[in-house]
């Protein structure tokens, strides 16, 4: 079974869009194989994925409740949407791992019996950073990660890089020769160290890395800035260039990904904004250099750009029931699905 865990360190950066597109893409794959997809929204009161993809009590849909979760089969689309009964309960790393284990050992079988289907993919939309979900004490405990080392399970940890996170890393890169333990750099170190540790524990089935690195317009930029919107609408923006780069058919290791970012950052130089340049444009310049540096090898298949679609601005607030059908025709989805298929096949 494929497990996709969506993580990010900040809200409003395209996480729901990634989750929706992931669900749509995996449904298309699963339908061909007559399988189902289980999607679980762990965003508590901000459960946009549930709001967009569950029935919302419109029409008749099969439902099922386990001890702590509700599930609803959206049968036409061949997926099951799940969410916690108590939206206010705080998720800890321990309960998260316990939940994964329970899905695998119990809930999956119950849902398959109830809805007469075979679940081949699980998507879990979280509002946590991967460092929150995978702390050392949890993943170094062998009983917690035994699920991840089974050859029949494949894990993908989707991480949406945001400019704040990148900014921390870049500051850390810039301070390489300061020869001191700077408290402002501790989190950058943790992100790097934890990335390597998670990769070591959860790389099974010949996957070099479980990480899928995502760049989206709102993660590296800010779509409330009209200049950036114009930029992202143009065919020259680095997200599009990354999407159009040939697929390398290989995954990048976490440390290699960071090394490429570091080189791109060094190519651009110290943070020195050009005239009229915003900090987002500065990051976009770095992303542009990243693409130049990796172009010979092609886009690693676990680096996924999300393109900008003007018609999706504010889509999570819309009540358009046809949004999903509309989305199928959009370049952002077509490109995402292509990247997803390359990743999992």
């Amino acid at each position: 079974m494929d497990w996709h865990i969506i993580t990010s360190s900040k809200g409003g950066v395209g996480k729901t869009l990634v989750s929706v597109m992931l669900l749509m893409s995996s449904c298309e794959q699963s339908i061909d194989k007559k399988n189902s997809v289980l999607a679980i929204d762990l965003n508590g009161m901000n459960a946009d994925l549930r709001r967009m993809m569950a029935s919302g009590n419109r029409g008749k849909h099969d439902q099922f409740s386990s001890e702590n979760f509700h599930f609803e089969a959206v049968l036409d689309s061949n997926y099951i949407m799940g969410w916690p009964k108590d939206a206010f309960k705080i998720l800890t790393a321990k309960t998260f791992f316990g939940f994964l284990w329970k899905i695998n050992q119990q809930i999956k079988a119950e849902l398959e019996t109830k809805f007469k289907c075979t679940i081949s993919t699980v998507i879990i939309d979280t509002n946590y950073h991967f460092c929150n979900l995978f702390p050392r004490e949890i993943i170094n405990n062998s009983s917690n990660h035994q699920l991840f080392n089974r050859t029949e399970e494949r894990f993908f940890i989707w991480f949406i890089w945001v400019y704040r996170q990148l900014s921390n890393l870049f500051d850390f890169f810039d301070a390489m020769n300061q020869n001191q333990n700077n408290p402002y750099h501790a989190d950058a170190r943790t992100v790097q160290d934890k990335g390597v540790l998670i990769e070591r524990k959860f790389s099974a089935n010949n996957f070099v890395s479980p990480f899928v690195h995502v760049f989206s317009p709102n993660s590296v930029g800010h779509v409330s800035d009209n200049r950036l919107v114009q930029f992202f609408l143009g065919v020259e923006n680095p997200l599009r260039q990354l999407a159009y780069l040939k697929n390398s058919n290989n995954c990048t290791r976490f440390s290699d990904f960071i090394a490429h970012l570091k080189t791109a950052k060094q190519n651009v130089g110290l943070r020195q904004l050009q005239q009229d340049e915003t900090i987002h444009q500065y990051f976009i310049r770095i992303l542009g250099k990243y693409i130049v540096n990796v172009r010979h090898g092609g886009r690693p298949k676990n680096v996924v750009p999300v393109l900008f679609e003007e018609c999706l601005l504010g889509y999570t607030e819309s009540e358009n029931p046809n949004l999903i059908n509309t989305m199928r025709e959009l370049g952002v989805y077509i490109n995402f699905k292509e990247a997803y298929n390359a990743l999992i096949l």
């Binding site: 050392r136 390489m176 310049r285």
Partner: protein
Amino acid sequence: MKVIVYRLDNVTLSRQCDEPFDISGVGTCYLFSKSEDNNVLKDFIQLYHDRDDTIFLIPEILKSPFAESLGGINNKNHTPLLWKQYDDNDLGGMETTGIIKNKIIEYVKTDNPSPDQIEFVETLGGNSNFLDKKMKIVIYKADKDVPFATDYDQLGSTDNIIFSNRQDKVTDFNSKSVDELKHLVQPWLPKRVGSEADNTIFYVPYDMWNKFIDILERLINGFKEMMVKGEKTSVPTSQQLGLGKGSSLASFYDEMEIQKVLEEPTEKNMIEAVKELEELLNEIVTSSNEVDAIFVYDLTNNLVLYNSTASTEREEDLPKFLTERKNYGASVANFGDLRNVSTVLNTFGDDTKRGKLQRTMFQLTNGVLNVYFFDEYTVPIAVVFVSAKPTGLGSLVLEGTKRIDTIIEKLRPLL
């Protein structure tokens, strides 16, 4: 990054290397156990090899995988690492050494562990420069003749070879063919660049260096494209080479004038190479009357690889190009279609025995593009000189002709 090799016999550590500890005045320490996975070691080297605030504590058994991993990152398989005997000062003195040993002992899985069980044996690095080993060619001029009569001599060690500048030797050298001269250079050459002896420095007289480069090109495939310009300050002093003070060789060495340094690129000087190229493009744009922008374009991936960023007085004529979009914008997003121009004209040139397409001028209503095509690199590229005015064609051509070789020289290691 500094690496300390520790000895701790028959003991297993419970600590994971990814759980570093900070020691004030020393840095962030990563403790590796003897069972550490080589891939993880490589990952951590990849992340921290260039950081002076990071210390790796590795068991003796990991020395070899460490060297191998380091070589892999630096694109060299067997980089000779200069380990030295450990000194307490390597970890900031006796007190901090004791603190670190106590820290390690917290993770020893035996009864009554003691810091005395731990011995720090060897040290590597202390700064990031130990990763920068590479073959160098130092081109020199001197008023005096070298103080030896042979074709070449060693400077301190077999890693440093100086070729004679005596007129008869230079004349003889230049009169021979590359094949005849190969035997002179080959014994000192690494099996391939980046191999065991890649810290070799060749000192070559100015009047010999073109031929010398031809020899290396013959011996090492792709040598000319590989080498980049190095810093004169990176050449060791006579003292660093261990030449006896006051010796005739030391006097000659100290008095000779270094003309140029060529070296094998490392990650560090690849970054420098980008900087130098962009500086050159800016210098051309700001000093030329007719060139308002230059960019290097990857015709396969539709990417602007490098571009001038400097403004010119005529900038207002290229607002979208230079001011608004910074990265050249949609104007060049489909520039890759120009590869068809190159293909068509190369075929024509081949069929009619007129040769390959070298450059093309595009006259626009309010500007001119002078485009040079190159298809001998990994992907076909175009170097584009842009004029914001429709006139001044002759000057634009002249500037291109004058500058294109220098641009390519800077660009070559990056392609």
